[in-house]
């Protein structure tokens, strides 16, 4: 089976007439070939894509590279970009997408915007009509650079084949450095046919782009001085710690000073969920004790976070007693929503290393010892309002599903989610032991993200347990990627939390619109077991609590693609919850 060979990730080079993989070719070669050579120089092994007219030259060339550059054919360009994002989030490498002009590019926009909001490094190559046809409303022409300008870190329209190598080199550099993000390269069809000599540049020329690595040392010293004397300090940490690969430093910082740690949704896994210093997620559906600790803290050490509205609640009520130290690589994130008293612009890992160097063992012991009353207070909050739900013998509670998933995977699986209730319950009840395991759409909140993102992560790690945890609504947005999952022989597992509602919208309609359910019932949902089977995957279903463990166990251990349709209680709500416009201390703990 051809797909098995691909899964083994052995890209043995085959003999080619003009084997390149060098930095340059004095002989003129077509732009399409320059593109692929440049991708190889950047260490790319997988491209997620979908062909079309404007990228025909590239696909023709790609056929000659198929043993060194794996192409994954998605079933929709949005799926391709989400896959690349899952791949990038799981590996820390740059995800690569190749789509055609016009609809290929517009279909990719949701994925690109998602990557932009969540700072995921991507290089998205879009075809464009030939140069002489640009501006003529040609077939499948769209102003891709114009459309993607506000949702990319940077974008390019390549105007001649001679600039391709430089543009690609810059694009990868921009995508992965500083605050990572997606970069779009729009390439007119005739540019991919033009032949020019190839030279891969050694350096990039970007005089206006200088991401900061270390923060100003004086300011770090001032920050550390504040940290060691704080009475009620808290570490508020997010995706920036994961991008910077700073989990080890975070663990050391927290343990040495005995600091409570609360991650954002994007930060899940950057600190082990089961660690005694972890307070769980904060924010709208965060834990009571994490939100109380932020609210009563006298010093918030915010690292790689952006004070998103889903975290802060009402800004005028946010952390009224706290001084704020804000570490972020992006200066525009600092003091954007909440003013930082001590801004430390720099890479999260590097700045934490700077901090750790200033912390001698005796200082740490003295400082940590002073936090005992603070921890007693946090433990009281924890006892006062633990995460809880009423389990049932008749119907599967979604929280129970998440707990079971955690029990069966031990917190070691890579789990990608969509957006909505299931995403919040998973964050509450299913911990992650390490970084790059939780893959979710945070900023954009794009339903349909979870399954293709899981697939992308699975393609990067064929042997790891990778699960798409999705709702019945979101799954139907990108379920066509089941074909992709099957075609490439993956082991991706899809757990559908099926309540037959658009659950989070329904919850808001119940709570804030007098239970007027408007367009949230999902009548006409297909039989997911049959759907799986139609794609050549395995379908399983659990409808009663007694069946759940057996179905999950069987599903997770069956080879190949498995869809587990888990029918859960329909009108369950996510609690605790901070109502819109309220402060963190105004959490609603239980249904009234």
């Amino acid at each position: 089976m051809a797909s098995v060979a691909i899964m083994e990730r052995e890209f043995a080079p085959i003999a080619m007439e003009e084997e390149l993989t060098e930095r340059e070719s004095p002989v003129a070669i077509p732009g399409a070939r320059i593109l692929l050579e440049a991708l190889m120089r950047e260490g790319v092994d997988t491209i997620f894509g979908y062909p079309g007219g404007a990228v025909l030259h590239i696909y023709d060339e790609l056929a000659k590279y198929q043993h060194r550059l794996r192409h994954i054919l998605a079933r929709h360009e949005q799926g391709a970009v989400h896959m690349a994002e899952g791949y990038a989030k799981a590996t820390g490498r740059v995800g690569v997408v190749l789509v055609t002009s016009g609809p290929g590019a517009t279909n990719a926009v949701t994925g690109i915007a998602n990557a932009f909001m969540d700072s995921t490094p991507l290089v998205v190559i879009t075809g464009q009509v030939p140069r002489k046809m640009i501006g003529t409303d040609a077939f499948q022409e769209v102003d891709t650079v114009g459309i993607t300008r506000p949702c990319t870190k940077y974008n390019y329209l390549v105007r001649e084949a001679g600039e391709l190598a430089e543009v690609i080199h810059e694009a990868f550099y921009l995508a992965r450095t500083g605050r990572p993000g997606p970069v779009v390269i729009d390439i007119p069809k005739d540019v991919t046919a033009d032949r020019v000599p190839y030279h891969y540049p050694d350096t990039v020329q970007l005089p206006g782009y200088m991401p900061t690595e270390c923060a100003n040392q004086d300011w770090v010293e001032r920050a550390v001085a504040k940290i060691i004397i704080a009475q009620r300090p808290i570490l508020y940490v997010g995706g920036g710690v994961i991008h910077a690969n700073g989990s080890d430093e975070l663990l050391e910082l927290a343990e040495r000073l005995h600091l409570p740690v609360t991650p954002t949704l994007m930060g899940l896994g950057c600190f082990p969920s089961g660690h005694p210093l972890s307070l769980g997620m904060l924010g709208m559906h965060g834990t009571y004790w994490a939100n109380m600790a932020i609210s009563e803290s006298d010093l918030i050490i915010a690292i790689g976070v952006r004070f998103d509205d889903r975290v802060t609640g009402a800004l005028d009520k946010f952390a009224p007693h706290a001084e704020i130290i804000h570490v972020d690589v992006d200066p525009s994130s600092v003091s954007k929503n909440v003013r930082a008293h001590l801004p430390l612009v720099g890479d999260a890992k590097s700045v934490m290393q700077q901090m750790l160097e200033l912390l001698s063992p005796d200082i740490c012991v003295a400082s940590a010892g002073g936090h005992s009353p603070w921890w007693r207070q946090i433990d009281e909050w924890k006892k006062f309002a633990p995460l809880t739900y009423e389990n049932s013998n008749d119907v599967i509670k979604p929280q129970f599903l998440c707990e079971e998933l955690h029990r069966l995977t031990g917190g070691d699986a890579i789990i990608a989610t969509d957006v909505g209730q299931h995403q919040m319950w998973l964050a509450q009840y299913c911990g992650f032991n390490g970084p790059r395991q939780s893959i979710t759409s945070g900023g954009l909140g794009a339903m349909g993200f979870g399954f293709p993102a899981a697939l992308g992560a699975q393609l990067a790690f064929p042997d790891r347990q990778v699960i798409a945890f999705v709702g019945d609504g979101g799954f139907q947005m990108t379920a066509q990627e089941l074909a992709t999952a099957v075609q490439y022989g993956t082991n991706t597992k899809i757990v559908v939390m099926n309540n037959n509602y658009l659950g989070m919208v329904r919850q808001w309609q119940e709570l804030f619109y007098d239970r007027t359910y408007s367009a949230v019932g999902m009548e006409g949902t297909p039989d997911f077991v049959k759907l799986a089977e139609a794609y050549g995957a395995v379908g399983l279903r659990a409808t009663r609590p007694g069946e759940l463990s057996a179905v999950l166990e069987r599903g997770l251990s069956t080879r190949g693609v498995v869809v587990m349709d888990i029918v859960v209680s329909a009108e369950e709500n996510v609690y605790p919850m901070i109502p819109p416009g309220a402060g963190l201390k105004e959490m609603v703990l239980q249904p009234s």
């Binding site: 650079v145 300008r149 506000p150 105007r159 206006g208 992006d330 525009s332 003013r339």
Partner: protein, 176 residues
Amino acid sequence: MRHTLAILVENRFGELARIVGLFGARGYNIESLTVAPTLERQISRVTLVTSGDDERVEQIIKQLDKQIRVLSVTDLTVTDHVERELALIHVSAEAGLRRQEVLNLVDVFRAKVIDISETGLLIEATGNRAKVSALLRLLGGFGIQEMVRAGTVAIGRLPSAATEAENDSAEVAFGR
């Protein structure tokens, strides 16, 4: 408060659209915008006048600075600087006393007559915003047929430039 920003940006395809788009997308205000290449042809200088409270302007500057091809952003408002505008004004003025009154105004405002016909004058005026506005207000009484005003350009003052400073304040006085 009104802020005048000097932005140096690589002179490349699409970079101005990126800056203007940023203001549109984030709901920032552009009062005026002027762009031209600097002595180094590959670098353009944008003079952009915007407004907002300190926090908003801080965020505007950070967002501009974040642009990959933006080399520097300077808030001239917080430094000693000179701002100039240019206006071309077609004013009705038939030969006779009224024309003489217009010419007197041109003289007082140190503007220039750059074209003339039986019925009107074309006047070129430069100065800070207040001066140009004052001239326009006074010429309004004669009947302005057409007018075009360029965006503000601005530059920092020399380290010691007392004379020029006096000149400028004299111009401000004209405008009030």
